[in-house]
C-alpha cells in the first residue's frame, strides 16, 4: 500500500499532497514538514530510500523519493510495495506529467494542482497502484479532458450572451471576463513570477518495463 504521496519544492512548499489515510490538516502539514526535513538534507547521490518517517505509520513504512530539478516526489509506502517498483512508478508519474503538460515545470504544478491530482488518480487509487502503462494513463486523461471541454463549450456559449448583456450596462466587465475565460481554458503562465521556471529534467533511467 502507498500511504501518502507528497510533492514539494526545494524550500518545502507543498505542491501536491495526497494522503491515503485520514490525518487532520495539522498532522498533514507536520508530516510534510518532517518529510521535507528528512529528504532535503540528503545528498544527491545517496540512495532514494529512507526509513524512519516517524509520523506516518510505523517501522513497516519507507519513504521512497526522487528529486527532479526543483521538486521532490516522495512516496510513503509499506513493505508490500517493491522499492524499485515504486521508484519506477515515480518515473512514470513524472513522465506522464511531462506528456500532459508538455515539458512540465514547477509552475504547471503550482497552478494546476487539480490536474496533477487527476493524473495521479489514474495511476494510484486509494493507495494501490492502478495503472503503470503511460500510454493508457495519457489516453484516459485526454478522454476526460475532451469530455470536460465539451461541457465547457456550453459555458462559452453562455458567456457570449453575457457579453451582450454587459454591453447594455456593465461597463468594465468584458475585458476582465475574457481574461478569466482564457485562464480557464488555456492556462497561460503569468510573467511576474520569478521562481521555479526551470523545467523538470526527466533523466533517461532504465525503464521498468
Amino acid at each position: 500500500m502507498i500511504k501518502a504521496i507528497l510533492i514539494f519544492n526545494n524550500h518545502g512548499k507543498p505542491r501536491l499532497s495526497k494522503f491515503y489515510q485520514p490525518y487532520s490538516e495539522d498532522t498533514q502539514q507536520q508530516i510534510i514538514r518532517e518529510t521535507f526535513h528528512l529528504v532535503s538534507k540528503r545528498d544527491e547521490n545517496v540512495c532514494n530510500f529512507l526509513e524512519g518517517g516517524l509520523l506516518i505509520g510505523g517501522s513497516d513504512n519507507k519513504l521512497i523519493y526522487r528529486h527532479y530539478a526543483t521538486l521532490y516526489f516522495v512516496f510513503c509506502v509499506d513493505s508490500s510495495e517493491s522499492e524499485l517498483g515504486i521508484l519506477d512508478l515515480i518515473q512514470v508519474f513524472v513522465e506522464t506529467l511531462d506528456k500532459c503538460f508538455e515539458n512540465v515545470c514547477e509552475l504547471d504544478l503550482i497552478f494546476h494542482v487539480d490536474k496533477v491530482h487527476n493524473i495521479l488518480a489514474e495511476m494510484v487509487m486509494g493507495g494501490m497502484v492502478l495503472e503503470t502503462n503511460m500510454n493508457e494513463i495519457v489516453t484516459q486523461i485526454d478522454a476526460q479532458n475532451k469530455l470536460e471541454k465539451s461541457e465547457l463549450i456550453v459555458y462559452t456559449g453562455l458567456f457570449c450572451i453575457s457579453q451582450d448583456f454587459s454591453q447594455a450596462g456593465l461597463a468594465g466587465a468584458p475585458a476582465r471576463a475574457v481574461s478569466a475565460v482564457k485562464n480557464m481554458n488555456l492556462p497561460e503562465i503569468p510573467r511576474n513570477i520569478n521562481i521555479g521556471d526551470i523545467s523538470i529534467k526527466v533523466p533517461n533511467l532504465p525503464s521498468f518495463k
Binding site: P22, F49, E51, M125, G126, F159, A177, M184
Partner: protein, 1142 residues
C-alpha cells in the same frame, strides 16, 4: 430563469479562479494568512450562490487551501453539492475535494450514499470512475456496506477501465466491511484471469494485500498464482505475486520447494533489477521456511548471496541499500554465508549514505568471539566520526547489542567491555545513557569476577561526574551515574579508596542531577559509609570513623532540601540514622556491625519475566475480592499511584527475599570460597593486569609494558584499544602454547607424517576467556510456566479480515472452540481448493450445510502408516477399510474424545484453576460393531451451515468397510451428495451435505443410517446402524468474543427480547460453571464481577445472545437477551438441562 443563470455566469467571471488564488497568494507573501482568510470569506460567499459552476470553482479553491493546511471540513455539505452536479467537470472537482478532506468522522458523509450509487451506475464510464476513485479515499463502514453490492456488479463491467477500479476498491470495502469478503471473493478470484492485464494486475494487487495480512487463508490460491507467475510477462504483476509467495511459503514448505526452480530461472533470466531483487527475497523466504533437509539448499543460498553481492557492489546506491537489506534476512538463518562477506559489510560502514550505513550495521550481528573486539573497535571509530546523533545513537545501541547478545556469549574479556562502556559515556548528547547504565549494572551483578575492576572504573566515573553531567545536552548520559553510584555502593568492599568515592558522591554538584539519580546516590552513600565504618573500626581508628560520620552529617542536609520527594525522604531518614550513630560513637559503642547489617545479603539477578511466571498457588483466586468493594467511586482514586510507576519500572531492582541467618552465612562462605579460588581475587596483586605478565609464554613479553592502573584514573583516554592489543597478545601466547603442546604431542607420537596446514587458524572454541567468567543466569521462580503467548494486537484493523473459508474467527483469549480441522492444516493447497469451488457454485446465496465426519480412533494414528500398503490391494475401491489394530486395545480403549476435548481447555490462558476435562461429544448410536459420537459446530462465515463431526469407533475385531452414511431429509434439512471427491484423507465414508437450515431458532432432529460391511474370519455381513442427529439450538451458536463496551451498546439498543431461568441446587464453583456454559453452550465471558458474569455469543445467522449469569447461595439464575425470542427460550431450556446436571 435564463436570466438568473446568465447572471450567475457573469458573477462567475468576477470570481477568482484557482489560478487567481494561487497568484494572489504568491503576491501576498508578507500577509499570506490575512489574504487567505479574505479569500475564504469570498469563497463562503460564492458557496452561498445557486450556480453550481460558482460553487465548483469555490470548492476547487478550497481543495488548494486544504493542501496548505487549512481546515475545509465546514464546506463538506457544499462539496457534496458539487459532487452531485450533473456535469463531469464539476463532479470531478467535488469528488477530488471529498477525497482530500472526508474521513470517517465527517457526519454528512452518509448523505452521499445515494449520489455515489447513482454515479456508479452512470452510463458515462468517467462518472463511474471518478466516483470510484473518490470513494476509495473516504469509504466508511456504512458506505462499504451499502455500496458493496453495486461495486461487486461493477467488477463485471464491460469496460476494463471500470473493472480495474472496481476490483481495486474492493480491498477498501473489505477493510471497512469484512463481511463482504466471502461473497465477493469468488468474483475477485475470477478477475485474476481477466483478459485485460490492468484488471488482472488490480486483482493480484488486492489479493496480495489481503494475503499479506492473513496469508493462511489464501494458501489455496497458490496453484493459480503459480500458473500466473509462469505465464505472466507483466513485471508489476510478477513482483506482486513473488512477494505474495514470500508471505505464503512460511506456512507451506512444500510450496517453497516448488518455487525454488522457477524463481532461480527468473533470477538468471530477468534483466529488471526490481524483479531480480524480489525473486532473491522470496528465495530467501523459501529457504528460511524450509528445514535444512534439502540437498541443493546451499546452492540456492550461494546464488542469492552471490547476486546480492553484485547488488551491494553496484554503484547505484539504491541497489546497494536493497542488497544489504536482503542480506540481513539471510543472516538470520545462515549467518555463515553472510560472514564470508564481512569485508563488504565493513566497507559499507564507511559509506557516506546514512541509510546504507544503518543497513550495514544490521549485518554486524554475525560476530564471533574471534572478531568481536575488532568489529567493536571499528564501530568505536565510527562513533567518534559520526556527526548526526541519530546515527551515533544507532551505533551505540548496536555496539551494546552485539556485545550483550545471547548472554554475552562472544565476550572473552569483560574488562574490555566495561572500558568500552566507560568510553561510551563520553558521547555528547546521546539518548541512550540508560542503556549503558543497564549494561554496567547487568555486567557488574552477573559477572562476579569483574566487580573489582568495575568498581574501580565506576569510582573514577563518579570522581569525574562533573565531566559527565556538566552541560545540559549531556543530560541523557548522566544516567550512567545512576549505575556508577549503585555499583560503588553495592560492591563497596572492592573499593580501593572508599573515602574518596564517598566524598565524590557528597559533592554539592550532585544536587543538580535528576531526582532518581540523587536518590540512588543517597542510598549508596550509606552503603559506602557502612563499609568505611567497618574498615575503620577493624583498624580501631575511632577518630577516622567519627570523621566520616561527621562528613555525612554535614553533607546530607543538602539532599534533605531536595525538591524530589524520593531524595528528600531517603535523605532525612538516613540523616537521622547517621545522627544516631554519631551519638553511639560518642559513647564509644561499636556500631559498624549493625550499620552493615542494613545491607547484608546477596543480590541475585532476576529474569524480567520472572514475576509474570510465578504460578498462581492452588486455591488462590486473584479476581476475587479480598474485601467487599465499598463503592464505585473509589476507582478514581488510583491516579496518585501512577505518579511513581514510571520511575519504579525503570529503576527498581528487586531485592532478594530476606534470607535467614544460616542461609546468609552459607552464602557468604560460598562466596569467600569462590573468591579464594578465583585468580582475580588474589589480594596480593595490585592490578589485575599483572596476570598477563605473570602468565607463561615468557618469550612474548610485550615490548611496551602498559600499566593500566594509570589510565584508569584519567578520564578521557580510551583504554579499550589497549585491551584489544593485550587480548591479541594473550591469544597469541595461548596459540603458541597450544602449538607447543601440539608439537610436543606430535613429536612424541609420530614425526612429521601429517602436517596441519591450518596451524594458525583458530576457531571460536579455541579462544579461552581471559578471566574465569561466571555469568550468573537470571533467576526464575520455581515451576515457572512455559513461555507465555504473545497475543496479537486486538486493535489491528486487518485482524477483522482474518476470515478463513472454514475456520471461525480467532478468539484466543476465550475458551477455545473445538476446531475440527486441526488435522488438516498440513494439507496441500490443491486439496483446499474444494471449499472454494463450492463457493463458486451458481447459487452463492444459498449455502449448503456441510456435513463432515471424521474417524478418529486412537489407534488410527498408528495405523495410518500401514494404510498405503493396504490401499494397493483395494485400489479400485473408493472406500477405505478400517481394521482394528489390536483386539485387546480396542476393548480397553479410553474414550478417545475425552483427550481430544480436554486438550484445548488446558490451553486456555485465562483460567485460574485447571478445569475438569469436558467433552461436547455425545453418543449418537452404538451397536456391537461400532460406536458413533458426534458434535455440532457452527461457523460465522457460513450462516446456514454447521459442521457435524462424527467419531466412529470400531468396537469389534472385524474389518469394517464400505461405510456409508445417509441422512434422511427433513423439512428444514436435506442431504445432497457431493461430486464424488472427498476432501480429507480420513476415512472417506462417502459423505453428504446437509442443507440449508431455514430456521435456526428451534432445535432440529435428523434421522440417519450408517451402513457398512463387517468382515471377519467367518465371513462378512452387511450391517446397518440407525441414528438420530440432534441439532440443539446451541449448535447454531459460535463463540464470539465481545468487548464490554460493545456489549453495553448492544444491551442499550433495546431491540433484544428478554427471558430468564433459574436453576436450584448447584454446588459447582462459579468459575467451573462459567467454563461449562462457555464450553457447552459456546458463550464467551464479557465481564465477570464477583459471582456475576455477563456472557455473549452469536448465532451463525447473526443473532446476538447476551446472558447475565448470577450465582446465589445454591442456585444460578440466567437472564438472557436475544434478538430472537424463540431462539432464546430454546437456548435457555437447553442451558437449564446442562445446569441441572451440575
Amino acid at each position: 430563469m435564463a436570466l438568473k443563470m446568465v447572471k450567475g455566469s457573469i458573477d462567475r467571471m468576477f470570481d477568482k479562479n484557482l489560478q487567481d488564488l494561487v497568484r494572489g497568494i504568491r503576491n501576498h507573501k508578507e500577509d499570506e494568512a490575512k489574504y487567505i482568510s479574505q479569500c475564504i470569506d469570498e469563497i463562503k460567499q460564492e458557496l452561498k450562490q445557486d450556480n453550481i459552476a460558482v460553487k465548483a470553482n469555490a470548492v476547487c479553491k478550497l481543495t488548494y487551501l486544504q493542501m496548505l493546511g487549512y481546515d475545509i471540513s465546514w464546506a463538506a455539505f457544499n462539496i457534496i453539492e458539487v459532487m452531485s452536479a450533473s456535469k463531469f467537470t464539476f463532479k470531478r472537482i467535488g469528488y477530488l475535494a471529498a477525497s482530500q478532506c472526508f474521513h470517517e468522522g465527517t457526519d454528512v458523509i452518509m448523505l452521499t450514499t445515494n449520489q455515489i450509487r447513482k454515479d456508479l451506475s452512470s452510463p458515462s464510464q468517467y462518472d463511474t470512475g471518478v466516483a470510484l476513485t473518490g470513494l476509495s479515499c473516504f469509504v466508511t463502514p456504512d458506505l462499504a456496506r451499502d455500496l458493496a453490492n453495486d461495486i461487486m456488479t461493477l467488477m463485471s463491467h464491460t469496460k476494463p477501465y471500470i473493472r480495474k477500479k472496481a476490483v481495486l476498491i474492493m480491498y477498501k470495502v473489505f477493510l471497512k466491511y469484512p463481511e463482504s469478503l466471502r461473497p465477493a471473493f469468488p468474483r475477485l478470484k475470477e478477475k485474476l484471469e481477466d483478459p485485460d492485464p490492468g484488471v488482472q494486475s488490480a486483482a493480484v494487487n488486492v489479493i496480495c494485500e489481503l494475503a499479506r495480512r492473513n496469508p493462511k487463508n489464501y494458501l489455496s490460491l497458490a496453484p493459480l498464482f503459480f500458473k500466473l507467475m509462469t505465464s505472466s510477462t507483466n513485471n508489476w504483476v510478477l513482483i506482486k505475486i513473488i512477494k505474495l509467495f514470500g508471505a505464503l511459503t512460511p506456512l507451506e514448505p512444500r510450496l517453497g520447494k516448488k518455487l525454488i526452480e522457477p524463481l532461480t530461472n527468473l533470477i538468471h533470466s530477468t534483466s529488471a533489477m526490481s524483479l531480480l531483487y524480489e525473486c532473491v527475497n522470496t528465495v530467501i523466504a523459501v529457504l528460511i521456511s524450509l528445514s535444512s533437509g534439502m540437498p541443493n539448499h546451499s546452492a540456492s543460498i550461494q546464488l542469492c548471496v552471490q547476486k546480492l553481492r553484485i547488488l551491494i557492489e553496484d554503484s547505484d546506491q539504491n541497489l546497494k541499500y536493497l542488497g544489504l537489506l536482503a542480506m540481513s534476512k539471510i543472516l538470520r538463518t545462515h549467518p555463515k554465508s553472510v560472514q564470508a562477506h564481512k569485508d563488504l559489510v565493513l566497507q559499507c560502514l564507511d559509506d557516506k549514505d546514512e541509510s546504507i550505513r544503518l543497513r550495514a550495521l544490521d549485518l554486524l550481528y554475525g560476530v564471533s568471539k574471534k572478531n568481536l573486539m575488532e568489529i567493536v573497535k571499528k564501530l568505536m571509530t565510527h562513533v567518534d566520526k559520526a556527526e548526526g546523533t541519530t546515527y551515533r545513537d544507532e551505533l551505540l545501541t548496536k555496539i551494546i547489542d552485539i556485545c550483550s547478545q545471547s548472554n554475552y556469549q562472544h565476550i572473552t574479556n569483560f574488562e574490555w567491555y566495561i572500558s568500552i562502556l566507560v568510553e561510551l559515556t563520553r558521547l555528547e548528547g546521546t539518548r541512550h545513557g540508560h542503556l549503558i547504565a543497564a549494561q554496567m549494572l547487568d555486567v557488574a551483578i552477573r559477572v562476579k569476577a569483574i566487580r573489582r575492576f568495575a568498581v574501580a572504573q565506576m569510582s573514577a566515573l563518579l570522581d569525574s561526574a562533573h565531566l559527565v553531567a556538566s552541560s545540559p545536552q549531556r543530560s541523557g548520559i548522566c544516567e550512567v551515574l545512576y549505575a556508577a553510584a549503585w555499583i560503588c555502593g553495592e560492591f563497596s568492599e572492592h573499593l580501593q579508596e572508599p573515602q574518596q568515592t564517598l566524598e565524590a558522591m557528597l559533592r554539592p554538584k550532585v544536587t543538580t542531577l535528576p531526582g532518581h539519580i540523587q536518590a540512588v546516590y543517597v542510598q549508596n552513600v550509606v552503603k559506602l559509609y557502612a563499609a568505611i565504618l567497618q574498615q575503620k573500626e577493624q583498624a580501631a581508628d575511632v577518630s577516622a570513623a567519627q570523621e566520616v560520620t561527621q562528613l555525612l552529617v554535614e553533607r546530607l542536609p543538602q539532599f534533605v532540601q531536595s525538591a524530589d520527594l524520593e531524595v528528600q525522604e531517603r535523605a532525612s531518614c538516613i540523616l537521622q540514622l547517621v545522627k544516631h550513630v554519631q551519638k553511639l560513637q560518642a559513647k564509644d559503642v561499636p556500631v559498624a556491625e549493625e550499620v552493615s547489617a542494613l545491607f547484608a545479603g546477596e543480590l541475585n539477578p532476576v529474569a524480567p519475566k520472572a514475576q509474570k511466571k510465578v504460578p498462581v498457588p492452588e486455591g488462590l483466586d486473584l479476581d476475587a475480592w479480598i474485601n467487599e468493594p465499598l463503592s464505585d467511586s473509589e476507582s478514581e482514586d488510583e491516579k496518585p499511584k501512577a505518579m511513581f510507576q514510571d520511575e519504579e519500572q525503570r529503576h527498581a531492582k528487586p531485592r532478594a527475599p530476606e534470607a535467614d541467618e544460616q542461609e546468609l552465612a552459607r552464602r557468604r562462605e560460598a562466596r569467600r570460597q569462590e573468591q579464594a579460588n578465583n585468580p582475580f581475587y588474589i589480594k596480593s596483586s595490585p592490578s589485575p593486569q599483572k596476570r598477563y605478565q605473570d602468565a607463561p609464554g615468557v618469550e612474548h613479553i610485550p615490548v611496551v609494558q602498559i600499566d593500566l592502573s594509570v589510565p584508569l584514573k584519567v578520564p578521557g583516554m580510551p583504554l579499550s584499544d589497549q585491551y584489544v592489543k593485550l587480548e591479541e597478545e594473550r591469544r597469541h601466547r595461548q596459540r603458541l602454547e597450544k602449538d607447543k603442546r601440539k608439537k610436543k604431542k606430535r613429536e612424541r607420537e609420530r614425526r612429521g607424517t601429517r602436517r596441519h596446514s591450518s596451524l594458525h587458524t583458530e576457531s571460536d572454541e579455541d579462544i579461552a576467556p581471559a578471566q574465569r567468567v561466571d555469568i550468573v543466569t537470571e533467576e526464575m521462580p520455581e515451576n515457572a510456566l512455559p513461555s507465555d503467548e504473545d497475543d496479537k494486537d486486538p486493535n489491528d484493523p486487518y485482524r477483522a479480515l482474518d476470515i478463513d473459508l472454514d475456520k471461525p474467527l480467532a478468539d484466543s483469549e476465550k475458551l477455545p472452540v473445538q476446531k475440527h480441522r486441526n488435522a488438516e492444516t498440513s494439507k496441500s493447497p490443491e486439496k483446499e481448493d474444494v471449499p472454494l469451488m463450492e463457493k463458486k457454485s451458481k447459487k452463492p446465496k444459498k449455502k449448503e450445510k456441510k456435513h463432515k465426519e471424521k474417524e478418529r480412533e486412537k489407534k488410527k494414528k498408528v495405523e495410518k502408516v500401514e494404510k498405503p500398503s493396504k490401499h494397493k490391494k483395494k485400489k479400485h475401491k473408493k472406500d477405505k477399510e478400517e481394521r482394528p489394530k489390536d483386539k485387546r486395545k480396542s476393548k480397553k480403549k479410553v474414550p478417545p474424545t475425552d483427550e481430544e476435548a480436554a486438550e484445548p481447555v488446558e490451553n486456555g490462558t485465562l483460567d485460574e484453576e485447571p478445569l475438569p476435562p469436558m467433552s461436547s461429544y455425545t453418543l449418537l448410536a452404538e451397536n456391537s460393531y461400532i460406536k458413533m459420537t458426534y458434535d455440532v459446530q457452527g461457523s460465522l462465515q457460513k450462516d446456514s451451515q454447521v459442521t457435524v463431526s462424527v467419531v466412529l469407533e470400531n468396537q469389534s475385531d472385524s474389518f469394517l468397510k464400505s461405510m456409508e452414511l445417509n441422512v434422511l431429509d427433513s423439512l428444514n434439512a436435506r442431504l445432497a451428495r457431493p461430486e464424488g471427491s472427498s476432501v480429507h484423507d480420513g476415512v472417506p465414508v462417502p459423505f453428504q451435505l446437509p442443507p440449508t437450515i431455514q430456521s435456526i431458532v428451534m432445535a432440529q432432529k435428523l434421522k440417519g443410517t450408517l451402513s457398512f460391511i463387517a468382515k471377519n474370519d467367518e465371513g462378512s455381513t452387511h450391517e446397518k446402524l440407525d441414528f438420530k442427529l440432534h441439532f440443539t439450538c446451541t449448535s447454531y451458536l459460535v463463540t464470539t468474543p465481545c468487548y464490554s463496551d460493545a456489549f453495553a451498546k448492544l444491551l442499550e439498543s433495546g431491540d433484544l427480547s428478554m427471558s430468564s431461568i433459574k436453576v436450584d441446587g448447584i454446588s459447582m464453583s462459579f468459575h467451573n460453571l462459567l467454563a461449562k456454559i462457555c464450553f457447552h453452550h459456546r458463550f464467551s465471558v464479557v465481564e465477570r464481577v464477583d459471582s456475576c458474569a455477563s456472557m455473549y455469543s452469536r448465532s451463525i445467522q447473526g443473532h446476538h445472545v447476551c446472558l447475565l449469569v448470577k450465582k446465589g447461595e445454591k442456585s444460578v439464575s440466567v437472564d438472557g437477551k436475544c434478538s430472537d425470542p424463540t431462539l432464546l427460550s430454546n437456548l435457555l431450556e437447553e442451558m437449564k438441562e446442562t445446569l441441572a446436571t451440575c
